[in-house]
Symmetry: C2
Subunit: 344 residues, 2 copies
């Protein structure tokens, strides 16, 4: 009820033009939440230092891929905003993937997973790319086999999953990667400080951008803690973008649900750290943030947005860049002579 009333208040206030500073904050707080300082707990998968450490090792280990070309970090690069800076993945045997890599940062707060929602939770998602035949391409049964050939992992799994008689399993590897992934949150963006009450954390332009972001309707989909990541939407509600941005062969969530209404439906992506994660959209075809705001305005919200407004909204989006964790590169347990070999 409170939320609904706030939204009603928002509509009338925002349509009336410039709003009072306190009202803007109240409107923002009704739609968005700050990133917490500590990683959230995962249901049924409690974090322990040993489990996070194991997850960190697996995240950076290229040996649990078919031909050892890369690891989770190759595409979800913790030094590059959690992405790879490419339109789409280049995977096993130099195959071209079809979609842009979403950021790992704050992904734990998403409720929609992958661009098409094909995973139920972060643990399932943690295995997805590893087994995708055009990504890391590891046959699923081989992951625990590969790990079992590396003696140092036996101790690491035993410490992470104490009391289990045979802890080196695919399910446990995914749990460990998921708890490490949950540590990759970026608190203390200027917008978070603003939401917590520091009015000086946003510039005047960014505040105008925030107001436009809400009044133009962007926040109807990009809301919550991640400003996105919690729903799906058709790309082209009002006007279908060109095939350069929306390639016609990729029908999005339709390919998972086979429901006609899901054609060209994709996850609404998070806008957290968006200034770090070009190129944009599921197709990765837009390299300019302002240009992408323009595409969204035309295709999704139908409200005219002029160049000055695009600039203000873009300036607001830049306030969503948070503090990144300093990750120590793991020293991985060595392979032994008996270990399985990478595929050619």
């Amino acid at each position: 009820m409170h939320l609904l009333r706030s939204f009603g208040l928002a509509a009338s206030l925002l349509l009336a033009g410039a709003v009072h500073a306190d009202d803007l904050l109240a409107l923002a707080r009704a739609r968005f939440q700050p990133i917490p300082d500590t990683p959230p707990a995962l249901p049924g998968n409690p974090a322990t230092p040993a489990k996070v450490e194991l997850g960190r090792m697996l995240y950076f280990d290229p040996r649990v891929s078919a031909s050892r070309p890369g690891s989770c970090n190759s595409c979800h690069n913790v030094g590059l905003g959690g992405v790879d800076g490419k339109e789409a993945v280049i995977g096993h045997s130099w195959q071209q993937g079809g979609r842009n890599t979403p950021t790992i940062f704050n992904a734990v707060f998403n409720t929609a997973r992958f661009w098409d929602g094909r995973a139920q939770d972060v643990e399932e998602q943690a295995g997805g790319s590893r087994f995708n035949p055009i990504e890391l391409a590891l046959p699923q049964a081989e992951l625990s086999e590969q790990l079992a050939t590396i003696p140092g992992y036996a101790a690491a799994f035993a410490a992470a999953f104490p009391g289990e008689p045979a802890p080196v399993t695919l399910a446990n590897a995914q749990k460990a990667i998921a708890v490490f992934g949950a540590t990759l949150i970026t608190p203390d963006a200027p917008f978070d400080k603003y939401l917590r009450g520091d009015a000086s954390a946003l510039t005047a332009t960014q505040k105008e951008g925030l107001q436009l972001f809400m009044s133009k309707g962007c926040a109807e989909c990009h809301n919550g803690i991640n400003l996105g990541g919690n729903m799906y939407a058709p790309f082209g509600i009002l006007e279908r973008p060109g095939a350069d941005v929306l390639p016609r062969a990729d029908k999005g969530r339709f390919m998972v649900t086979e429901t006609v209404g899901d054609q060209y439906v994709f996850k609404v992506p998070t806008l957290r750290n968006i200034a770090l994660t070009a190129p944009y959209f599921h197709s990765g075809r837009a390299w300019d943030l302002g240009q992408s705001v323009g595409v969204m305005a035309a295709s999704q919200i139908g409200a005219p947005v002029n160049a000055e407004e695009v600039q203000k909204i873009t300036s607001f989006l830049e306030s969503l860049t948070g503090e990144q964790a300093r990750i120590v590169y793991p020293i991985l347990p060595p392979s032994v002579a008996a270990a399985q070999r990478p595929e050619p």
Copy 2:
């Protein structure tokens, strides 16, 4: 003179069988030196914190490769003993490289660079793989152009090379990577502690292995601080190994010098951290350390080495595993819309 006298002493003592503990240490000290605790200075390329930091960024940045498939760390993985755990590199467009990746750890102490000695110094080597058409495949002229499109690098280069009017150059990038690479040393291996006087740092078996390593002639080539890395030698001095280990098409240093005597001549690799860096030889075809010792004995030294001796030498080689640096993954400066795009 002192060295020569020591070697003369060695020959007579070692051929006589078991040597006194003090004599073994004296013999070892005449041939080997411990890894220092701090990185060595590079001539004409002084290290500063800003230059090391820039080098760390470039080492992990996949954007300075043709299609952004990887970085220096993709093959010289600081979590995997400084190597990739593969027979040979898989590079740009999934091309297969011909030789095994040498470890970056302690590479600064090598005087022979690459398997065939084609680089003069660590700075030249730092550019080699990046521009190799079957490795990272970046056209040489594009490196500084790519870096110049990333605004954050302007400040990092200016801090690393103060006073230079246009510091974003290929030469400076190579200097920075070289000083970062020089930090990747692994002191305090058990053998280093032994060389410094801690007689208990090696097991009895390892000491027997050390004695065999010297008496059988291994140390004629694998000597110095890196137990290798300071000379070239024909692979197959006494008996040419099979084509499985020595593929006939790769004629080694001959391809650089075009001198007949350099056919099948390769760098004598370091044995530092050898237990972490399987597979072995320039061809990467041997996965077992003991098996590799046997191949060396047959092809290089001509002294019969039985299974027990191989086991003792292998045990000694395991004492060459040092302490690895904890590397913090760099947060890389973001690209901007104007930046150049990766190649497909």
